[in-house]
Symmetry: C2
Subunit: 214 residues, 2 copies
């Protein structure tokens, strides 16, 4: 993860190098150029190996300008894939809640966000791309592991946390595809509360275990 | 994947109509032509509204020839999407087993089949297409509902069986994507038995209920 700050990053930086531009020099197109450069960097190097500095270099702008628009790498990644929700931030919020309600809270958040079609469309487009291209799959995997599952694993503090977080992710991805993508009748039509009641306990069980009695 | 049927299909068939061809008249290309015609029919009309007769008409062959190669519509559909497993047949087999082991049996079957890369690749390609095209999504949905979930709902004989079957499908689709598509580390690396132990109870719970004690 990159620095959350822009502030002191460049205080000791040399004067702007030739060929680079600062915020003052350029207009609204700068952000778009940075995003375009980030797409190429992420595609070529994957999520983990891409740095904001390398993106700045490719965009021909100062690193401070990248930090001006984007707080961190997750922020920049979210802009490149054009998904209007930030799973990394939502998860951070959920993990501050009660431990025995994590599953329900996760599913409630997902359903609330994705019942809005622009959000689910963007999410499905991302998944489709990841299923079609190895580098996109790797990028999505790295993003999920570094920014989303990593937080969960750290917070849960259980054995095999990585497997548990991945299993929870599998139920959530499947829910998104079945309800919003393929739109399987009964699941697509179910009320948010019904979905939360049916899937919340599953996510909770994946994450924290317990006994299952048939 | 081919039909065990065919046998008596042609005994009482009328004489070949002008412009149509029978098995005797044509070579190995006939099956491929029927599959190509079926792709178009499925794409234009969806799974439910496509008949073997309409496929025969489009392919310019006798309906009996379609029945010679394909036992039923599910069989023909499987050929058009080139997926080497037949969920409708596997489900029929699983449903004959013990009721309280259905979840584990389903997950064991899935993992055993998809741990073979050609099978998982074909399955993922189908999902990707369904996520990208409304008609492909509709077709996959109709196939799942008519041929797979319908069997489960009929066998379970529980209230809200359609919702339950859709929820089970959501966990299975998510497992396939996470383990074989995005390949989330810990889940992609887990042994088949581990995956069966973790996901089997979830599928069982979706289908038949029970209790998670967390």
């Amino acid at each position: 993860m990159d620095t959350p700050a822009a502030g002191n990053a460049d205080t000791s930086a040399p004067p702007v190098r030739r060929g680079r531009r600062r915020a003052a020099d350029i207009g609204a197109g700068a952000r778009a150029e940075i995003v375009a450069a980030a797409r190429v960097e992420f595609a070529e190097n994957g999520y983990d190996s891409t740095s904001l500095r390398a993106v700045a270099r490719r965009a021909g702008v100062d690193a401070a300008l990248v930090h001006h628009y984007f707080a961190d790498k997750a922020d920049l990644f979210a802009a490149t894939v054009d998904v209007p929700i930030r799973p990394d931030r939502l998860v951070a919020q959920i993990l501050r809640g009660p431990r025995d309600e994590i599953g329900v809270a996760i599913v409630r958040t997902i359903v609330t966000q994705l019942d809005q079609p622009p959000t689910s469309d963007a999410f499905l487009a991302l998944l489709r791309t990841a299923l079609g291209h190895e580098f996109a799959a790797r990028m999505l995997r790295q993003f999920l592991v570094s920014e989303v599952l990593g937080q969960i694993v750290g917070e849960l503090d259980v054995e095999d946390g990585e497997l548990r977080a991945s299993l929870a992710a599998s139920q959530i991805v499947g829910l998104v595809i079945a309800r919003y993508g393929i739109r399987l009748g009964a699941l697509a039509d179910a009320s948010p509360n019904e979905v939360i009641a049916r899937v919340g306990p599953v996510v909770q069980w994946h994450l924290l275990g317990g006994e299952f009695i048939t």
